[in-house]
Symmetry: C2
Subunit: 347 residues, 2 copies
DNA sequence: CTAAGTTCTGGGAGCGCTCCCAAAGGAGCT
DNA sequence: AGCTCCTTTGGGAGCGCTCCCAGAACTTAG
């Protein structure tokens, strides 16, 4: 007997038409105050809620944005980076009254399944792609399917792409200059994977900074896959070459790197100074406290959502790239305090 | 000219009806091999993808499950716990070819907006609720709206609820017994918030274990909000009361607690032994290595999805609770190695 | 060759909404 | 009162799919 609760039924009970109820629900103008009150009363009384799928079908937009995260072997996703990013994106979505769909894939099989799900019309309006690999196949698929998207990172396979990124090059460069300023002579680098734009940029930014300062890195370069274990391994290897200042491409790897320094019975920052990238690990978490190039991860996520939203609203025609500045946050591992307590803040 | 790509259009091009195309797309039987081949060829050629919203509307299910996470002031979400949980849930969803929608709310305003979005019909088929507070209002709303849900934790406001939880009591109890076995005399507790079921259970489990072992805790109890900072503060306070063994209710708080021990110029484990709960921080991350009651977070997330899926499929009628066992993983902070190198594994 | 059974195919109805146009109602002016 | 103009309301059409039943086509057996 209880008819299904839909616009028609609410209209029937309030003595108006489907259309009028729709107008009230969507807060459109041109509804008389009296009618509006009556309809709202019925809605409150019945607990009516509009049907999202029907809306999506009729209006051709879902109000859902997808966030795609690769998680190779599940390790990547443990990085606090993603928590922050999700938080930023999620905040922005809440503000826009939209919904966040999360797509995490662990391997190629997942990936292709997820791609085919993501590009389905009527599921998400657009997609934010993170941890973009160089020449990412995902991007080509999205483009083929005419699915609007924003990339977090610096995509390389096509120019006409909307993207949000932190200034990885500039941040890494400032780390190099900081080492030079502190008088370190034998810099080394633990770079993030070079199949990611962040890896490429942090590496080249650091090397540029060294060149600028007249320092040479010799063979003191290793690469790590973002994890603590990789940072530890890479630092253990590097220590054989007696570096006195190591730039580690992520906070997580830096935690492992510090561990390796301890295990080699060396002191940080006295023997080996460390600067990392991310600025995301709580300051108290590790001893000595980590000097790190901080990137505004949450803002990046937030901004990616806003950018995608403007794309969806058709407000943007030509590709746009947003780059957030980074900030070198000086704590203990860089050894700045050792050379006379100067307190630098480079950007 | 280019007609919209839908079932009808594919049918037209393949010389069959909408219904037949639908059968092919959904892999239903009773389609002749020849027809099937023809239709599949057209689909491949056109790049047709079914419209998710239309499907949802017609079939009355969306294939989307919502995961609701409160993130008070954004701090909570930084806990690696949620990364793991999401990863587990996400894996399970991929396996079921379903989509995960994430709802993170930071305050009451967000919360009510999110609740009203979540309970909308046609958006999600069901919801997984995490970090459940005692007497959680969210649960009442879901129930009112007839939205199927599974709770992670131990809900208390109603009995007929599907839930997945770790054995918080048992795990905490095993920590107490471990301290007793190692001959510690002055146990203390840094408990998680007592407005969560995990907080209540870890506290009572630890106290039960102490009672069993004939130990008394005196006034050596503090409460912390899951963060490193709270752990540090709580430990600093507790140290005035000279505890020799502290059970810390989460890994993150334990990291802060270890820091406080260092700052008080005390040694862990010699002066103060520490056992934490979660077993989620990478073993290398902290020195000395953390002894922790490990809970299988990823499995919890995975299982919650499966459980919700069976509920949605109507395979389960009466409420079901799944409890995962925990495991005390002995490393360095408990000081087990000090008393003769015994290597315990209690469950 | 026919009847009965099985497999395959087509299309009507409907999911609950938005979009849009037409018509009704009301206000303001001459 | 009559006209115009603006506000408010109603309902047809359609979004792309699933569900379901009826009928066509094909099998098999007698």
């Amino acid at each position: 007997m209880a008819a299904r609760l839909n616009l028609e039924e609410i209209g029937r009970r309030a003595g108006v038409s489907r259309s009028t109820v729709s107008r009230v629900v969507n807060g459109e103008p041109n509804v008389s105050a009296k009618t509006k009150r009556r309809v709202e009363a019925v809605i409150a009384e019945t607990g009516y809620r509009p049907h999202a799928a029907a809306r999506s079908l009729a209006s051709r937009q879902t109000g859902v944005i997808g966030l795609v995260i690769p998680s190779e072997a599940g390790t990547l996703f443990n990085d606090p980076y993603f928590g922050r990013l999700i938080l930023g994106a999620s905040d922005a979505m809440n503000g826009l009254d939209m919904t966040l769909a999360l797509f995490v894939f662990g391997d190629e099989i997942d990936e292709s399944a997820i791609i085919s799900r993501v590009v389905n019309p009527g599921l998400v309006d657009g997609v934010i792609v993170t941890a973009t690999r160089m020449a990412d196949p995902l991007i080509d698929h999205l483009r083929d399917a005419d699915m609007p998207f924003v990339v977090i990172g610096r995509p390389d396979n096509l120019s006409a792409v909307f993207s949000v990124d932190a200034d990885n090059r500039g941040g890494a460069r400032s780390a190099a200059l900081h080492f030079a300023q502190l008088g370190r002579q034998r810099p080394a680098l633990i770079a993030p994977p070079s199949n990611t734009s962040a890896g490429v940029d942090r590496r080249s930014g650091f090397l540029d900074g060294l060149a600028e300062a007249g320092l040479s890195i010799g063979g003191r370069i290793r690469e790590g896959d973002w994890t603590e274990a990789a940072g530890r391994r890479a630092m253990a290897e590097l220590l054989e070459r007696r570096p006195d200042a190591v730039f580690v491409g992520s906070d997580r790897m830096a935690v492992g790197a510090l561990q390796a320094i301890r295990e080699a019975d060396l002191r940080c920052p006295e023997d080996v100074a460390v600067v990392s990238f991310d600025g995301i690990i709580p300051a108290d978490m590790v001893v000595p406290r980590l000097t790190s190039v901080a990137q505004p991860v949450q803002e990046v996520g937030e901004r990616a959502v806003w950018l995608l939203k403007s794309v969806l609203d058709g407000q943007l025609t030509s590709a746009e790239s947003v780059v957030f500045p980074t900030e070198l946050v000086i704590r203990e591992t860089c050894g700045a305090a050792l050379v006379g307590g100067e307190r630098d803040r480079a950007s």
